[in-house]
Every structure is written in structure tokens, then in C-alpha cells.
């Protein structure tokens, strides 16, 4: 445990005009850790994720990331090109709607290979092999490599987005409702796949969701958000099985049992 944190967040807040979206958020994320962020719609969890992921400048506070060259550095203190390089090489972002992240007019293999090319890969054979390998890892039929994602089902598109995100081997992945909008059976398969990949690759991840079953399966730690504040944080099963805050108790007791 001598290793330092990969990400450190201090006093992070964001306002939209007079509306406080998130306020005074602080935590550390260590290599290989998966943090779940839960809360209902409007609790500020997506705003928080965007601030963490370098997509939205916070109004207050700092996001420090362990840069390979310079150690813990303020993400918003980097120049625009430096931040873009970081987001492209070290980080990944998985959105709820894969159609926002995929290019629908180029092939599935092209979507995955493009990420490799952006990061400097030039050999066609190596790029195609890399793409094929990742389609296999996310359990997509490799005979569909030349098909456009528009011809894929929602679950297949989501798996393609995950392949596209992970092919460059990021150290930290942000996920916004990765299983939202999918059928239950497709969700289970995707969760199982994510669980395996996160474990095998030793990824660090921050997953925003309103689904407590998703975080129980994927997250080591949990942050419960309400009205922009982190009302409870801790080990995932501890927060879910022994919730201390009134709002967490409400969340946990509101889940319907099938």
C-alpha cells in the first residue's frame, strides 16, 4: 500500500448560474480501484463525472491526476493539447448512449482501429489485428468487423463502444450509466463482461449509475450523492448493507426485489 493515488479530488464544486450541481466533493482513487457513484436523477452525479473527466471546468476545487511524467497534476492546469492527449491516451469514457461515441458511418473495425491510429499506430495489419482481438474480447462476432455499427443491436453497440474505449489500454475509465437503456438479459451479459475486463486489466474506473445492483457487482467503493453533495462514502457492500445516512437508507429500501 505504498502506492499513491491515481486521482485526488479536493473541494470540487460546480454551479450552473445559481444552481449548485455538485459541492465540496473530495476523495482519492487508487490504482485498480473501482468507484461507484449513485444517486437519483438531478443529484449531480453526471456533472461530477464530467468535471472529473476533464470535460467540464469545475467552479471550485481541484482534480489531480497522477501523470506518467510529472506525478499528481491539476487536470485543469494543463494546456488544452496536454489535456486532450491525456484524455486520448490515459483515459477512457463510456457513455450511456453508444451512438454518441461511435461513428455510425464507418465499420465496427474502423471505429476500434481509429483509436489506435489516433495514438500513432500506422501498420494496417497490426491495427486490424488489434481491432479483431478487441471485438473478440467484448464477445462480438468478428465476421461483423466490416459492418457499420448502425446495423448492430443496442447491446452490441455498447460492447463495441467498450472495445473502442479499452483498445488503447487506458489506466482510468469513466462510465456514465453503461448499462442504462439495455434489456435485463443484455445488461447481465455486459456487467459480467465489464467485471471480467476490469479485473483482468487492473483498470481503475469511476462508474455513475442509479442502479444499485450494478455497483454491487462492479464497484469496490461507493459514493452516494444527493442535492450535489456526497452524503455517504465507503466500501460498497458496507454502504448498501449497513447504510448510515437517511437518504442511503431510503435508496436501499426502495429497490424492488424481483
Amino acid at each position: 500500500m505504498t502506492e499513491g493515488p491515481l486521482l485526488r479530488v479536493d473541494g470540487l464544486g460546480h454551479r450552473f448560474g445559481r444552481v449548485v450541481a455538485c459541492d465540496d466533493i473530495a476523495f482519492e482513487l487508487f490504482p485498480g480501484e473501482v468507484l461507484g457513484v449513485v444517486g437519483e436523477s438531478g443529484s449531480g452525479k453526471t456533472t461530477l463525472l464530467n468535471c472529473l473527466a476533464g470535460r467540464l471546468q469545475p467552479t471550485t476545487g481541484q482534480v489531480l491526476y497522477d501523470m506518467r511524467a510529472t506525478g499528481l497534476s491539476d487536470v485543469y492546469g494543463l494546456s488544452e493539447p496536454e489535456r486532450r492527449l491525456l484524455m486520448r491516451t490515459d483515459w477512457g469514457f463510456v457513455t450511456q448512449n453508444p451512438r454518441d461515441a461511435l461513428r455510425m458511418d464507418i465499420s465496427a473495425g474502423g471505429n476500434v482501429g481509429e483509436r489506435l491510429m489516433v495514438n500513432g499506430a500506422r501498420n494496417y495489419g497490426a491495427i486490424r489485428n488489434g481491432a479483431t482481438d478487441w471485438l473478440e474480447r467484448v464477445e462480438l462476432d468478428t465476421s461483423r468487423i466490416d459492418d457499420r455499427p448502425a446495423t448492430f443491436s443496442g447491446g452490441m453497440q455498447q460492447r463495441l463502444q467498450i472495445a473502442k474505449t479499452l483498445v488503447v489500454q487506458p489506466r482510468l475509465v469513466f462510465m456514465d450509466e453503461p448499462t442504462g437503456g439495455l434489456d435485463v438479459s443484455v445488461q447481465a451479459r455486459l456487467l459480467d463482461l465489464l467485471r471480467g475486463l476490469v479485473g483482468d486489466l487492473g483498470l481503475s474506473a469511476i462508474i455513475v449509475t442509479h442502479d444499485l445492483a450494478v455497483v454491487r457487482l462492479l464497484a469496490d467503493r461507493l459514493m452516494v450523492m444527493r442535492h450535489g453533495q456526497a452524503v455517504e462514502q465507503g466500501l460498497t457492500d458496507q454502504v448498501l448493507d449497513d447504510p448510515h445516512h437517511a437518504y442511503t437508507q431510503l435508496l436501499v429500501s426502495s429497490v424492488l426485489q424481483p
Binding site: 500500500m1 487508487f30 480501484e33 447481465a188 451479459r189 456487467l191 459480467d192 467485471r195 457487482l217 469496490d220 467503493r221 465507503g234 466500501l235 460498497t236 457492500d237 458496507q238 448493507d241 449497513d242 448510515h244 445516512h245 437517511a246 437508507q249 431510503l250 429500501s253
Partner: protein, 232 residues
């Protein structure tokens, strides 16, 4: 003798915010030690806090006061104060926990569920599967079931999958919440043997055993919990 578990002045009260902030005190001023190679049975009437104490010993429940120390990696780790990643590491290396209910992960074959703790500790996947299959067979889960996900198994079969998962690794500390509930006599005997073997190799064991015959066979001593008065 090496101390493996030491509880100091431990207290736990549940506060039910949604029910008028009702306070349910479970235990307080709890002091207790468990040595290497010792099996302690928690006793007391239903509702006295036996499961709550056991869950506090693996970091699943968070006590309000006191210390819950376990020997992990040569040092005493306080589960009340430790950060999540320290507790996760302790669970991987030190703490085995067998609950009454199996939390099923969709789609994963029984043999892999049982093998997982060993794989996590670095055992080759094939070797871990072989070991898992042997343990399952010893617990009378037939080979034809090993490749199936346990979602459709009977209560007794799921219980035995849980037991196998808890015993595939030689954890220094074992926490057993009614490991023989819903088992027939033959399977109960297998579980008793597993517990005795673990004790023999030096594991510190804390368990809840409602079956008195089982308790007498495995436990060196008992710790009696008394129900606390609820204060509204």
C-alpha cells in the same frame, strides 16, 4: 499462541432514519479475542446480534465505537477505521466468509464461482478449477452441475457452493454464518470435517452454529450474546 482477532469495547447500534429515527442497540462494550487454531461459537437467542457481530468482523457492517482488530499480513488491522481498499485486501488474503445465502452472479459457472478466490490469489485458472471441482464433489455437488450457473440450484446446493468458495483458500480467519443450515446429515458431516481440518491447520474460526451437535464437535468455546433493550 497468536492472537488473530481482538475486539475492544466494540459497540453497534442501528439507527432507522425512515422509522422515526428508531435506535436499535445490538451490542456494546464488547471485548473478545480469538487465537490461531481456535474455533469460537457465537451463541444467544435470535436477534441478539450474532450475525451483526460476524458481519462486523469482515467489514460488511460498520460498528459505531471501539476497535475490531484482525491479524492481517503480520499486523493488526482495525476494520472500524481501515480504508475500503485495506478491507478488500484483507478479504482477499485473510478473511474467509461463508454466509447462509449465495449471492449469485449471472452467467458464471459454479466451478468458476468456487475457483475465483484462489485465482485472485494467483493460482493458475486450470489448477484452481481442478481444486474447485474436487471440493464441490466432496460436498456432493455432482460434476454434471459444475459447468452450470447456480441460480437454479436448491437451497442446500447453493449453501454447499458457498461453503466450497469459503474453503478453497486456506484463509487465516474463517467466519461461518450457519454453514450447515439446510444441509442433510451426510453433507453436514463433510462441512464439520472441513471446519476441523481448517482448525487443525491453524485457522481462527468464528461461527454461528444453530445445530448443537455440530457446535459441540467444532467449537472450543462459546461466546454468549444477550439481546439489548431497544430505546426509541
Amino acid at each position: 499462541m497468536t492472537q488473530m482477532i481482538r475486539l475492544e469495547d466494540l459497540a453497534k447500534t442501528f439507527v432507522l432514519h425512515l422509522q422515526g429515527r428508531t435506535e436499535l442497540p445490538v451490542f456494546e462494550n464488547l471485548d473478545l479475542t480469538v487465537e490461531q487454531g481456535e474455533c469460537l461459537a457465537l451463541t444467544g437467542p435470535s436477534g441478539a446480534g450474532k450475525s451483526t457481530l460476524l458481519r462486523s468482523l469482515c467489514g460488511n457492517y460498520l460498528p459505531d465505537r471501539g476497535r475490531a482488530l484482525i491479524r492481517h499480513d503480520g499486523e493488526m488491522l482495525d476494520l472500524v477505521a481501515a480504508p475500503p481498499r485495506a478491507i478488500l485486501t484483507a478479504r482477499r488474503l485473510t478473511l474467509g466468509y461463508v454466509s447462509q445465502f449465495l449471492r449469485v452472479i449471472p452467467r458464471i459457472p459454479t466451478v468458476d464461482i468456487v475457483a475465483e478466490p484462489a485465482v485472485t490469489l494467483g493460482m493458475e485458472r486450470d489448477a484452481a478449477r481442478t481444486k474447485a471441482a474436487a471440493l464441490l464433489s466432496r460436498l456432493n455437488i455432482g460434476a454434471e452441475l459444475h459447468a452450470l450457473a447456480p441460480a437454479t440450484f436448491s437451497g442446500g446446493e447453493q449453501q454447499r457452493v458457498n461453503v466450497a468458495r469459503g474453503f478453497i483458500v486456506n484463509y487465516p480467519i474463517l467466519l461461518l454464518d450457519e454453514p450447515t443450515a439446510s444441509l442433510d446429515a451426510a453433507n453436514r458431516d463433510v462441512v464439520v470435517d472441513l471446519i476441523l481440518e481448517a482448525r487443525e491447520r491453524g485457522a481462527a474460526i468464528v461461527g454461528i452454529f444453530h445445530d448443537e451437535a455440530v457446535r459441540k464437535r467444532v467449537a472450543d468455546r462459546t461466546f454468549d450474546l444477550l439481546p439489548q433493550q431497544a430505546a426509541a
